[in-house]
Amino acid sequence: MQKKIALIEPYRHSEVLRSLIHLLDHRGWRVSIFTNPTVRADLYEVHDHPRLRWWVGDTQAPAVFLQGHLPQLAEQDLLLFVTLVTDFNRLSRIDWPAPSILILHNGHTFFAPWQHLRFPRRGRDWLRLLRMLLRGEPRRRQRLLASVDFLSGPSPHIQADWCRRWPQLLERYQWVSPLPFAFYEGPGVERTDSRLRVVIPGTVNPAGRDYQLLYRALQRILPDLQQPLDLFLLGSARSTAARRVVQSFESLSSPLLTCHYFPDVLAQVDFDRHLRSADFLLLPLRSHYPLGLIRERYGYSTISGGLNDAQPKGLPLL
């Protein structure tokens, strides 16, 4: 019997949403998508898919948007929240009209924020801390978790690790197996030219990525390079710190190296095009990255979206 599912993504995880749409549609689920115009634009491939139903609105306040669509949500057999990162108080007060699953992407933020608080360095950080304390954000997150029926982590390994580190999570919440964020779609088109194309996917953010290490590695290898190399920093390089990263890569002196960067957020169609033409991906992750005031740890409390970028075309990832 055909089942109905709502995929709710009021933020920017369009790559996860895209995979879930394909996987569920392939098994005959009737998929309704509740999202914002940006994510819908990112999903250009399935814009006009005849079996999908779209509910697109301004999701600055997801609770208001979703509350306005409770009749449509009530038609579903299952509600799947792909990401929720704001508006916890109002969201936790909604009585969801169907069984609900919330995917969690960041364990420290939800389960141990105080233990993983980083020291505020700038005025903006102190304001964040003040807001966190005054608004009781950790408590609000707990209320949100209690308001849904099931939780799901970002990967089997990480979910198991969360439940081992914080055993109370097993008593307090019902967990379901982590859902796939990406799937293998088959090999990409083999290029015939001799240029090497290497892509670093994602926003250029030195807080979460060690570009200096990569810079030093390239500096040592470039003198031996025999063929032209195109290095793509495939994500917004808008911030001051990002521009410094770009400048450092551009300063690498090799006539064979061309560095490509993008001063603004790329359209998804362009991102996908560059990704598919890559020979391989580079992901120079630091072990930790700051999410607001909380330090998340790759492979333990969270995963990098770069993994989802590599899997569809089976691109080698370093």
Partner: protein, 56 residues
Amino acid sequence: MRSYRGEEDLVNTLRSWLLERDFLLLRQAAPTQLAPYSLDPLSAQLDRELRAILSR
């Protein structure tokens, strides 16, 4: 995916991928290695899990 530990490991791997094109071996192995993570098996697994949730 190939992870690295520190600068030397990164240099060695990157050198072999850029100069020897060793990444091609990984590209060739991908269809076999990633077959369990393709549309059919993953969608079947997801379908089973979600239907199990509905029957709880």
